[in-house]
């Protein structure tokens, strides 16, 4: 009977506080992660929205190619019209 009472004391004074302490630590850390994860999700969504204009790069690419072609044609005409430097460079 004495051993039983000692077991009860250990159960109430040691095991129960230890269990509560460990569970509270896990819960605190889990709750601390939630705002961080929500912040990451909001940031990722905003970053994805900011990149909606990326397809416009294809238009920019086409415009650059056309502009370079025009510049090349204009430069070719200038090469014909304007005399070269007589000093040769």
């Amino acid at each position: 009977m004495t051993v039983w009472w000692i077991g009860n004391a250990v159960l109430l004074l040691v095991v129960l506080p230890v269990v509560v302490y460990l569970l509270r630590g896990v819960l605190t850390e889990a709750q601390a992660i939630v705002p961080s994860v929500q912040g990451i999700a909001a940031t990722a969504a905003a970053g994805s929205k900011d990149l909606d204009a990326v397809p416009l790069l294809l238009t920019t690419q086409d415009q650059v190619i056309r502009t370079v072609e025009n510049v090349a044609a204009y430069g070719g005409s200038l090469d014909v019209i304007v005399d070269d430097d007589p000093r040769g460079r």
């Binding site: 819960l27 994860v37 370079v68």
Partner: protein
């Protein structure tokens, strides 16, 4: 049941109760974390998907721009010469002459001439006429001063239209206007309609029907 057994049961119930309370809260927190991670993964996936073609597009743009820059720099050097080309670039973009052209080695070592300095029209007129203008002597473009010492006044005449330069025998006189003018007009009541023709026989050369 002995008292020790009741205490044991109470202790076990308390432990289980603590487990349930804390574990349920932990599960709720983990579920919120899982939801947030799903949203984050969706956002990151969108970023990855949208940025996938960026490298190829930007590389293509840069290649075309590099080719255009090399061609234009080569054309500029071919037509203007290396020194003048560097001077022109340095004039448009101060300090850029020190960097030189990418495709031409040693272009960064060229001392850019001051060919792109901008002067006011009056300063340039003085420089052309050579009227004691220091710029006419120290002109960056170089060359002889245009001042004509013996006939310097004729140079100013060249600024006016050809009719004045040719010194015609008689230029038409400017019309006289105002209260002392030989021809007086009465104000009309309607635009374009003269009240009566002027009685003075002045010869101003003006159209008599004009208002």
């Amino acid at each position: 049941m002995p008292a020790a057994g009741v205490v044991t049961i109470v202790a076990v119930v308390l432990i289980v109760l603590a487990l349930v309370v804390y574990l349920v809260q932990t599960i709720v927190a983990l579920r919120r974390i899982s939801t947030g991670l799903d949203e984050a993964i969706a956002g990151v996936g969108g970023i990855v998907e949208k940025t996938a073609p960026v490298e190829a597009v930007v590389t293509t743009i840069n290649e075309h721009l590099d080719a255009a820059v090399d061609a234009l720099e080569g054309l500029l050097v071919k037509k203007a010469g290396l020194e003048d080309a560097v001077g022109l670039v340095d004039g448009l973009y101060p300090g850029a002459g020190a960097e030189g052209f990418r495709a031409i080695e040693g272009s960064g070592d060229v001392k850019p001439p001051r060919i792109a300095e901008v002067y006011t029209r009056g300063t340039l007129t003085l420089a052309r006429l050579g009227r004691e203008a220091p710029i006419a002597v120290a002109s960056p473009a170089g060359g002889p001063v245009l001042r004509n010492v013996t006939g310097g006044s004729l140079a100013a005449r060249m600024l006016y239209p050809e009719e004045r330069q040719g010194r015609p025998e008689r230029l038409s006189r400017s019309p006289v206007i105002g209260s002392g003018a030989p021809v007086q007009y009465e104000p009309s009541e309607e635009p374009g309609v003269r009240r009566r023709m002027p009685t003075n026989g002045g010869t101003t050369g003006a159209d008599p029907g004009a208002v």
